[in-house]
């Protein structure tokens, strides 16, 4: 069963994370063996040669939450494999690209976790107690469009740019949500 978030709901809602517990800084998504960020992709602008791609790759591989990084020079993209068991720190990814002398773009992630709802808002529980809000660009995803609470789902979408309160600044602007085949 695949549920799609309505496009009309994906536009104006500021992404807010509701992070319970510790260890999850701004723009950082926790991951664990059971629920995790499966992959990430980030746009890198300004690369025009192999040395550019090599510089970006080296910088990204130094980020603690990244295992491997592979750069597609032609399309200006870096494909990232997050390190299992560590929270995915999007801010560090963006900083690594900036420090290499290039302009970072949006980060897109694929995450898997359990869907929970509180006060009518849908969250992705990546590890027990750590919740990441599922949002759209214009508002919260419509719950009837998402799989039921308590289910393990896989979502893909853009990491929302954090702002302000570090404890309420992380979200995934959902593009797709689907029931995961594995628990």
């Amino acid at each position: 069963m695949v549920a799609r978030v309505r496009p009309a709901l994906i536009a104006a809602w500021a992404a807010i994370a509701f992070l319970v517990g510790s260890g999850c800084g701004p723009f950082g998504l926790p991951a664990s063996a059971g629920a995790e960020i499966l992959s990430a992709r980030v746009a890198v602008r300004g690369m025009t040669c192999n040395i550019c791609a090599g510089t970006v790759e080296r910088r990204l591989k130094r980020v603690a939450c990244i295992v491997t990084a592979s750069v597609d020079l032609e399309h200006g993209l870096a494909q990232l494999s997050p390190r299992p068991g560590q929270h995915f720190d999007g801010r560090r990814v963006l900083k690594a690209i900036h420090d290499a002398g290039f302009t970072p773009g949006d980060i897109y992630v694929v995450a898997r976790g359990q869907l929970v709802t509180r006060n009518g808002i849908a969250y992705l529980e990546l590890v027990p107690g750590d919740l990441v809000i599922l949002s759209g660009a214009t508002g919260p995803p419509s719950l009837p469009d998402l799989p039921g609470a308590g289910q393990t789902i896989r979502v893909s979408g853009r990491l929302a740019d954090p702002s302000g309160d570090s404890r309420a600044s992380v979200g995934i602007c959902v593009e797709r949500a689907a029931l995961a085949t594995a628990p």
């Binding site: 300004g46 025009t48 040669c49 192999n50 040395i51 080296r58």
Partner: protein, 284 residues
């Protein structure tokens, strides 16, 4: 007859510092990791775009020939250079040249001398940039200070032998590269050179971007260089075809051959001077 490049320079035999720099360059070339691959598409005095920890090191062999009546001179520069990206917008460079000069009369060598000439410390700051997918436009400021080498009569003074200030606009893309720069080259302590303006326009194309996927690269292009005395005493323009090739992941070769296409009131010692450049470098 003397070259304007070396007027005021006190030539001395090569010393250990020069040998050490060359040895370090060679050693680095041997140990650099195999993923290094790059190009040096920026022409004129500007440094290559090595921001954020990028490193380039290599050697330049430059031959300049001048002929005046029955006299001629051949200058051969062998230089070691390095550039390093200090940060996301800042690059530092070092350029250590060694000059061997032969002066000839009626084809016979009448004088030969060689030694270190002023070395340069360089700094380039990016002031503005606009990045796109596979493209970049940037404005940079460049400064250079030439210091007297060890063993020269002016050593160990820290008063610069020469200095330069430049501004440049650089476009880089997956298919083409273009740059333009304008520089003021000042004369420093114990220098006999006149201050000059230096303008450079360069355009190169990458005829086969698909080579990038195999870790190879190729550029073809040309650069036009204007040189003129600040006091207006003379002017000259040279045109140089340029070939840059990356035959292996580590290695780059660059060849250019500049010949004058226009000159006005140029002193005899640089009149009609042509230059052949061969640059070999590694970059990561």
């Amino acid at each position: 007859m003397s070259s304007a490049h070396s007027r005021g320079l006190r030539l001395r035999p090569a010393n250990r510092a020069f040998v050490l720099v060359f040895a370090l360059a060679a050693a680095w070339a041997l140990v650099v990791p195999p993923h290094a691959s790059a190009h040096s598409d920026v022409r004129g005095p500007l440094l290559p775009p090595l921001y954020g920890g990028g490193l380039q090191i290599g050697t330049v062999i430059s031959s300049e020939g001048t002929r005046y009546e029955d006299e001629s001179a051949a200058d051969v520069y062998v230089a070691a250079g390095a550039a390093y990206g200090l940060g996301p917008n800042t690059i530092a460079g070092l350029y250590v040249p060694y000059l061997s000069r032969a002066e000839l009369e009626q084809g016979a060598v009448v004088e030969r001398e060689s030694g270190l000439v002023p070395f340069s410390l360089q700094l380039q700051q990016r002031l503005w940039r606009r990045d796109g997918v596979g493209s970049r436009l940037e404005v940079v400021a460049f400064s250079s200070v030439g210091l007297h080498p060890p063993g020269s009569p002016s050593w160990p003074t820290l008063r610069p032998a020469k200095y330069a200030l430049s501004g440049g606009l650089i476009h880089t893309g997956l298919r083409d590269v273009a740059s333009m720069s304008w520089s003021y080259n000042g004369a420093g302590y114990a220098a006999e050179e006149e201050p000059t303006w230096l303008g450079n326009v360069a355009a190169l194309v990458r005829p086969s971007p698909r080579l990038l996927a195999r870790g190879r690269d190729l550029f073809l292009g040309a650069e036009l260089t204007y040189q003129g005395a600040v006091n207006g005493a003379y002017e000259r323009v040279t045109l140089a075809p340029v070939l840059e090739i990356q035959p292996a992941r580590l290695l780059w070769f660059e060849v250019s051959w500049g010949r004058p296409v226009w000159e006005r009131a140029v002193p005899p010692d640089i009149q009609g001077r042509s230059s052949l450049w061969l640059r070999v470098y590694v970059q990561r």
